[in-house]
């Protein structure tokens, strides 16, 4: 519940944590990172794919597309702050045989340009790749920039493939895979200095495949996006409590890898927790819940969701907000302990 604007907040020492900058990294202090993995992967791919075109709606620097624009200025189109045009023009370029990567923020693609993505792109199954920064709660700028419901919005769109990658290692593999896929793709993009985690697990991305990153007997965390790296931290933390946590990473939200999810969720007497950087409504959690229900699979120790509440979230510092809304590693570990 949001505080009344007429109620003066209690003073905080030092004014409290500051709002994280729009370009703030999600990386924890000391965490390994890679800069602009999307931009660099796209440049590398473009060397062998002359059909790849970049389009931005005045946010190239904030979606890492500026790396591509600098490398291939003649293949970059600045469409202005006009997301409806961005998507329509991308559809037009795809119709002429090109593979446009259109970038903006997730809120603008999902809320503002939906009809254009739906009718101009998806209905015709056109080869447009939509890469959107600031998915879920990855900015402290408030609801105008927090795409907490983008998966709920996009999951209902036929033909659209939806990818929620975890880290820089995965993004580097997602870019060529989404370009190779015939049809529209929505990518929840992590931008700037992006944490590097999954390389240490020997992970490789495959479109449409969920993968077990680590196995465990007590809890199965099914997660996507940055919540997979949180889940891996939680698994380490809970080891001290003698709780054995498995992590099943589901980067492709649609089409869902139903076989793997059913197999893992149905295995043994585990608590199944779906963790996502998204509202608990309409995202991976409800997708998995619906799948398990339809298949008659009830996890031995129950089913829980970790995700953002059905609210317009507050502004502020990202670490504060991740704690407040239960998607920090500490908050997530606390939730799981309480459920066991």
């Amino acid at each position: 519940m949001r505080r009344s604007k007429y109620e003066k907040p209690a003073p905080r020492a030092g004014g409290g944590a500051k709002t994280s900058a729009m370009i703030a990294s999600l990386a924890a202090p000391g965490q390994r990172t890679k800069p602009a993995p999307f931009g660099h992967a796209l440049v590398e791919l473009a060397g062998t794919r002359p059909d790849i075109i970049g389009l931005s709606a005045d946010l190239s620097k904030y979606t890492d597309l500026h790396i591509f624009a600098q490398a291939y200025p003649e293949r970059f189109y600045q469409m202005g702050m006009a997301e409806q045009l961005l998507m329509s023009a991308a559809a037009g370029l795809a119709r002429e045989g090109f593979t446009p990567f259109a970038t903006t923020y997730a809120v603008f693609a999902a809320r503002r340009a939906y009809d254009f993505i739906c009718l101009a792109i998806a209905e015709e199954n056109l080869n447009v790749k939509i890469a959107c920064a600031l998915p879920g709660l990855t900015t402290g700028y408030g609801p105008s920039h927090q795409a907490t419901e983008d998966l709920a919005i996009f999951r209902g769109m036929p033909n659209l493939t939806i990818i929620d990658p975890c880290d820089a290692h995965e993004i580097e593999q997602v870019v060529p895979a989404m370009a190779a896929h015939q049809g529209p793709v929505y990518l929840r993009l992590l931008r700037g200095n992006v944490p590097l985690v999954l390389d240490a697990y020997g992970y490789t991305f495959e479109l449409g495949k969920a993968k077990t990153i680590r196995d465990g007997r007590d809890v199965l965390v099914i997660s996507s996006g940055l919540m997979t790296m949180r889940a891996l931290e939680v698994a380490e933390a809970l080891r001290d409590d003698r709780v054995d946590v498995a992590v099943l990473h589901v980067p492709t939200i649609k089409p869902l890898d139903t076989a793997t999810i059913l197999r893992e969720a149905g295995r043994g007497g585990r608590l199944v927790v779906v963790a996502e950087n998204h509202s608990v409504i309409g995202g991976l959690g409800e997708a998995v819940a619906g799948l398990l229900m339809r298949a008659g699979v009830m996890p031995g120790r129950g089913f829980r969701q970790i995700g953002l509440p059905d609210e317009f979230l507050e502004a502020g510092a990202l670490p504060t907000l991740h704690d407040r809304y239960g998607i920090s590693a500490a908050a997530m570990a606390g939730s799981i302990r309480a459920w066991l």
Binding site: G80, A82, A91, G92, E96, G97, F98, F116, L119
Partner: protein, 299 residues
């Protein structure tokens, strides 16, 4: 083409200058083409007993000039890479475009009786996946001009000399996306883009300028850096001149032809109806309309 790019869904022919105009040079006068387009449309309207027939009758002259004077295309190969692209942003005008595509022999005339029926290639709202010669899915208004911008950019990348025509309506001027696209077309200097606006003065809730006043329209597009012409959209000679001027205009600007048309043009008793956005036509009136049209046929 130096980039080794795919040539889209075409037959793989390399882009050619769109000087090939298979339909031009035909001995059939444009007035006769317009008459036949109206006739095909009325016959389709009769099949369903309803439809956007007033728009179809109003835009038939523009379609006749488009398909039988201006556009390069191959009837047997609707996705020929060298064709001029004609986008129907106003999906509900599908009945009009089908009539033109039938006249252009892109769609067989005997398919006309399937209009709006189950499994027909001629659904009531235009969709690219259904119909040969239908370039885009319209219907959600305000999409066409933005798609046209992307296609115009794409054609330029491929070194194509083809034009993109986008037919939209005065009602679509209400949509903000139309103006996003208009501003970008001017900014990108898309001289291969020709916009056609059907200014028929009527939209769903009533008279267009009463719904939202878009006038003065010409100066708006001029201010967005377009080459603007405004013509009587039911005057074939004026349309021919305007299309020629649009195609041959030397400036690096997108071109727009604002076509003032009369709803239900050619069938006076339908023209006289005030609420004609979705025209009510009684079952016996279709044959009467066809008879009147036949009487007024331009020889």
């Amino acid at each position: 083409m130096t980039t080794g790019l795919p040539t889209g869904s075409s037959t793989g022919a390399s882009p050619e200058a769109s000087t090939e105009r298979p339909r031009a040079g035909s001995n059939v006068p444009l007035g006769e083409r317009a008459y036949r387009i109206r006739r095909h449309a009325l016959r389709m309207g009769e099949v369903q007993g309803q439809g956007y027939i007033a728009q179809a009758l109003g835009i038939s002259d523009v379609l006749a000039v488009s398909y039988f004077h201006a556009l390069a295309y191959r009837p047997g190969d609707p996705e020929w890479e060298g064709r001029d692209r004609f986008l129907l942003s106003i999906g509900h005008y599908a009945i009009a475009l089908y009539a033109a595509l039938i006249e252009a022999e892109i769609i067989p005339e005997d398919e006309l009786t399937s209009y709006g029926g189950d499994d027909s290639r001629l659904p009531m709202s235009g969709m690219a996946a259904y119909t040969p010669g239908m370039e885009i899915t319209g219907g959600s208004l305000g999409h066409g001009l933005g798609i046209a911008v992307g296609m115009a950019l794409g054609l330029k990348r491929k070194g194509s000399k083809s034009f993109i025509y986008n037919l939209f309506s005065d009602g679509e001027l209400d949509e903000g996306s139309t103006w996003e696209a208009a501003m970008s077309a001017g900014s990108f200097k898309l001289d291969n883009l020709i916009g056609l606006v059907d200014v028929n003065g009527m939209q769903a809730d009533g008279a267009s300028t009463g719904v939202l006043n878009f006038e003065p329209l010409g100066p708006k597009f001029a201010a967005f850096n377009w080459f603007v012409q405004r013509v009587d959209g039911n005057d074939i000679d004026a349309l021919v001149k305007a299309f020629d001027a649009a195609r041959h205009h030397p400036g690096a600007e997108p071109r727009i032809i604002l076509c003032d048309t009369r709803m239900a043009k050619g069938v006076p008793f339908l023209e006289a109806r005030e609420r004609n956005h979705f025209l009510r036509v009684e079952p016996d009136e279709w044959q009467r309309a066809l008879a009147i049209l036949d009487e007024g046929r331009v020889k």
